[in-house]
């Protein structure tokens, strides 16, 4: 068994898991953080995207043992009981998600982008979301939502 201690959404968590356990399985099966989805389990679809030390990664391709001592942010770490994260709010307003299965991964990728680059171009947004597949093909409204959230985060637009 592999012992891991990591910070998830600002909270220190520990678990003992078989060495082949992926970060995604650790989050979903050990900590019941089921917001990160298992879509392909081979790093193609991006439904499992989480932020590790500031970088969006495919949680299905990272071993639990590799995140020992590191900082992980999942979709569950974005909203508070009082308010949604501006990206989540924009995704709701723009009806950016249809079946929703890709949504948490897309939002996390967008957060990874806006944390590094608060004023991205449309091309940069597309590039940041290129690892996230949406089979309902609603990319246009996702990009619009990310642009809107970026404006709010930059303080150019009041949060509705």
């Amino acid at each position: 068994m592999t012992d891991v201690t990591l910070t998830i959404n600002g909270e220190e968590r520990s678990a003992s898991v078989p060495p082949e356990t992926s970060l995604l399985r650790l989050l979903r099966d050990e900590f019941y953080l089921t917001g990160s989805k298992l879509g392909c389990d081979v790093g193609d679809c991006g439904a499992c995207t989480v932020i590790v030390d500031g970088m969006p990664v495919n949680a299905c391709l990272m071993l639990a043992g590799q995140v020992d001592g590191r900082d992980v942010v999942t979709i569950e770490g974005l909203a508070t009981l009082e308010d949604l994260h501006p990206i989540q709010k924009a995704f709701e307003e723009f009806a950016s998600l249809q079946c929703g299965f890709c949504g948490p991964g897309v939002i996390i990728s967008a957060k990874g982008l806006l944390d590094r680059n608060p004023d991205p171009t449309k091309e940069e947004i597309k590039d940041a979301l290129s690892g996230n597949l949406c089979r309902c093909t609603g990319y246009t409204k996702m990009i619009e939502a990310v642009q809107d959230a970026a404006r709010i985060l930059r303080g150019e637009k009041e949060a509705a």
Partner: protein, 463 residues
């Protein structure tokens, strides 16, 4: 009925109706955020307060929060995980299945084979698909046994330890070859399991009137739906003899009847909870693993979950039919279609699934949205030893569209007519009759074409 029931006033706006909702929602955001309400002032559309208003999706917030519970997000205490052993051979007789080594593995709770299934066949129109293949394998993705274990890994390893002895049979993969019936997929039945024929006018007369005859063969490939959420189900057989199934199945009522049939039990003993589906596109329209999971739950007394791997999505779920489409069209010098003969061969794969529906719709739409007085359309659906095909967005309509529009372009090119003009000349108009005689109303195909051409600058491109 009591008097205090509040009936929505037609003058209420969506925002009014949603106010109560907003107060109860978490996270309790300050104000409901909507687009500015733009009311489209069209008098004919004032039936409900929803028409003409912008609305947000009621499920959008949960999706974005990651709080929507798809099947794989649901866990029950003491739950087992199932895996299926896939045949890996496309046509064979099953001589024996030895599950003893798998059953002896620590962590394995139960192994199930096809012989234990009360009625081992299902399907929405023909019941030609086994839940678990027991006597014969019809395509390589067929499951031959199912295992329930305490972890997915153990279930997978147990599948590898199941020994199946096959007597290989000669397979048939090409649908046109399959039409000869020399190799039968489901003997003694013919490989041609569904046909449709539409006849209108006098084909010979129509071709005689034509100045040019165009012939072409068009084909499309097999396509998988690839929903982001793989097929998933959980079964729980309770001590009162009732089974509850949480399933990503889209048609739960139909599925319930199919499950009752396979389990040979009254339908009222079966409860299906249709959870939020992470993409369907037609691929989750029939039962898959549910009866096997129900029986594994019965054998173990524990809830059993199974989620398809991405690979299983491709090899064991339905796909879009590959079509082979032969088109012969007679056209006059000025581009009027006088006759069209169509032959469609649908590669149905190993099982019927929704092929009948696909065949029917494809055949009806095969002439395209054009006024063709003399028409013969024939369609055949074939069994082959491949992954089965079924419902997928459009039920065969996109395939035939590819063929007839490709041929329209060829005709336009050869006759030197603008492709748009050729379509405008032949397209349906108000009151046109479809190949099956349906008189069409609200026909806007020409308007749509004109508007589209204007929007994307068809003329300016000098096409």
């Amino acid at each position: 009925m009591t008097d205090d029931v509040k009936v929505a006033d037609k003058t209420d706006s969506l925002t009014d109706l949603k106010e109560t909702d907003e107060d109860l929602r978490l996270p309790s955001v300050v104000e409901p955020a909507h687009f500015p309400v733009e009311t489209i002032d069209t008098e004919a559309r004032h039936q409900t307060p929803a028409v003409g208003q912008r609305a947000t999706r009621p499920d959008g917030r949960l999706h974005g929060l990651g709080q929507t519970k798809y099947i794989d997000d649901i866990t029950f205490p003491n739950m087992l995980f199932a895996k299926m052993k896939r045949a890996g051979i496309s046509s064979a007789l099953i001589k024996s299945i030895d599950t003893s080594e798998a059953e002896a593995m620590p962590g394995v709770a139960a192994v199930l084979t096809g012989k234990e299934i009360p009625v081992n066949s299902y399907g929405p129109s023909y019941q030609d698909q086994p839940v678990l293949a027991d006597e014969r394998v019809f395509h390589a993705g067929d499951p031959v046994a199912a295992v329930a274990a305490v972890t997915e890994q153990i279930a997978e390893e147990a599948c590898e330890r199941i020994k199946v002895e096959y007597e290989p049979l000669e397979p048939v993969y090409d649908p046109v070859e399959a039409m000869k019936d020399e190799i039968k997929v489901h003997p003694p039945h013919s490989n041609i399991y569904a046909t449709k024929r539409i006849k209108k006018g006098d084909l010979e007369k129509g071709f005689a009137e034509a100045d040019h005859i165009f012939e072409g063969v068009y084909s499309t490939q097999m396509i998988e739906h690839v929903p982001l959420e793989p097929h998933a189900s959980i079964a729980q057989w309770d001590p009162n003899g009732r089974v509850t199934l949480w399933s990503s199945l889209g048609r739960i009522t139909l599925g319930r009847a199919d499950i009752a049939r396979t389990l040979d039990m009254p339908i009222n003993k079966i409860r299906i909870v249709g959870t939020i589906v992470g993409g369907n596109f037609g691929g989750k329209n029939e039962i898959t693993t549910e009866p096997a999971l129900a029986l594994l739950s019965r054998k173990t007394g524990r809830p059993v979950k199974m989620v398809y791997t991405r690979e299983e999505e491709f090899i064991a779920s339905t796909t879009r039919h590959p079509f082979i489409m032969e088109y012969k069209t007679g056209v006059t010098d000025d581009g009027m279609i006088t006759a069209r003969k169509v032959r469609l061969v649908l590669d149905g794969g190993a099982y019927c699934s929704w092929s009948e529906t696909t065949l029917g719709k494809a055949c009806i739409l095969s002439a395209g949205p054009y006024n063709i007085e003399n028409l013969l359309a024939e369609a055949y659906c074939m069994y082959t030893n491949k992954t089965m095909t079924g419902a997928m967005r459009g039920f065969g309509a996109p395939q035939v569209c590819f063929a007839y529009e490709s041929q329209m372009d060829e005709i336009a090119h050869k006759l030197g007519i603008d492709p748009l003009e050729l379509r405008m000349k032949n397209a349906f108009h108000e009151g046109s009759a479809s190949p099956t005689g349906q008189v069409l109303q609200s026909v806007v195909v020409k308007d749509s074409l004109e508007k589209a051409a204007e929007r994307f600058g068809w003329k300016e491109d000098g096409q």
